[in-house]
Symmetry: C2
Subunit: 203 residues, 2 copies
């Protein structure tokens, strides 16, 4: 037992809090959060970047018969629909955001004191905003892509995925990746809130 | 080392401050947050409920000419598109959620100690989840409704809002209301994080 050790000076436990060094279990908790934070931001960066690239490179040209014996080439491109333009814009913003905040997280990780509460607060505010933007983009692209896949007989919107199969495969991949981005942003919000609540419980 | 202080068990830091009574200035800060919280939940309830009602009551029947002299009645209903079914489901969940959490917030407001950190933590986790769901629903409905409004000449999806004008007016109102719901949920997340960070700064 440490209390029976005569070499320990009696004033050691009453030192001012300025020289306070975190006990091992506290240090573990505070270094645990930022590593997951950085990992989630790397996942966000990767999924958002690949989603944008896959969406932008989805152009497909097919010969569409307009009359017997006559076929004209018609493109299918992502920028034919405003929903997909918004999707690319939102995912690009998420990608840039993940670079900036990922770099700040790595810098905070290197600092001996760990990440500050103020930085974490700014992160969670922006993470929640981005979550809303990316989730809306995923929804918009998903809603339009579903019509492309299944059509809508009630309003006579014909399906296009049986013609433009590679185009639709690109879209499905891209929307799936943006769904992962949204879930990653949700986890980032949850992680920040968890770390903040741990800080309250510890004090 | 944790063993240097034998009177404090290691799990004591995670216990709620049961006998803690807030000084006057702290009480002012802690009663400020829950009132806005309740107000935002009331706004969420109202917008989500009205959005669902407006969407569900959007049915419109028109006589559509199919041949010269022949016209058949055709309905336009929200459940013709999966995006709108998802929209109604998501907004209904948000509406029910706002009732439950609003009631809990009012109960927490009446308690003398104010809302507990644990309750706030659960709220912000669920608020962020709902934010993602409602934002995705708004995006999906918005993306499909935009095609209804403007059409898409590239894939020959004709616009329908010049025919079903009352139907489209219902949709536009409903999507606008769900956008307000999403923004309210974002504010709820921000408010909870702000209150949590205030608690850290105070201790």
């Amino acid at each position: 037992m440490a209390s029976t050790n005569p070499t320990t000076p009696p004033h050691a436990a009453t030192e001012p809090p300025t020289k306070y060094s975190a006990p091992p279990h506290e240090h573990k908790v505070s270094s645990f959060g930022p590593i997951i934070d950085v990992a989630l931001r790397v996942i966000l960066f990767a999924t958002a970047l690949v989603a944008v690239i896959v969406m932008v490179t989805s152009k497909q040209t097919k010969l569409i018969p307009v009359a017997p014996g006559i076929a004209i080439p018609r493109d299918a491109k992502f920028n034919h629909s405003p929903a997909f333009i918004y999707f690319v814009a939102a995912l690009s913003v998420a990608c840039l955001y993940s670079i900036v905040t990922g770099a700040l997280s790595v810098l905070a990780l290197k600092k001996p004191g760990g990440s500050s509460t103020k930085l974490q607060l700014h992160f969670v505010i922006l993470d929640a905003l981005l979550l809303g933007i990316v989730a809306a983009a995923t929804g918009a692209a998903g809603g339009v892509a579903y019509i492309g896949l299944k059509g809508n007989s009630h309003v006579r919107w014909n399906k296009i995925c049986h013609t433009y199969n590679s185009f639709c495969f690109h879209f499905a991949t891209s929307i799936l990746l943006s769904l992962i981005s949204s879930i990653t942003l949700l986890f980032l919000v949850w992680l920040s809130v968890y770390v903040l609540s741990k800080k309250i419980a510890r004090r």
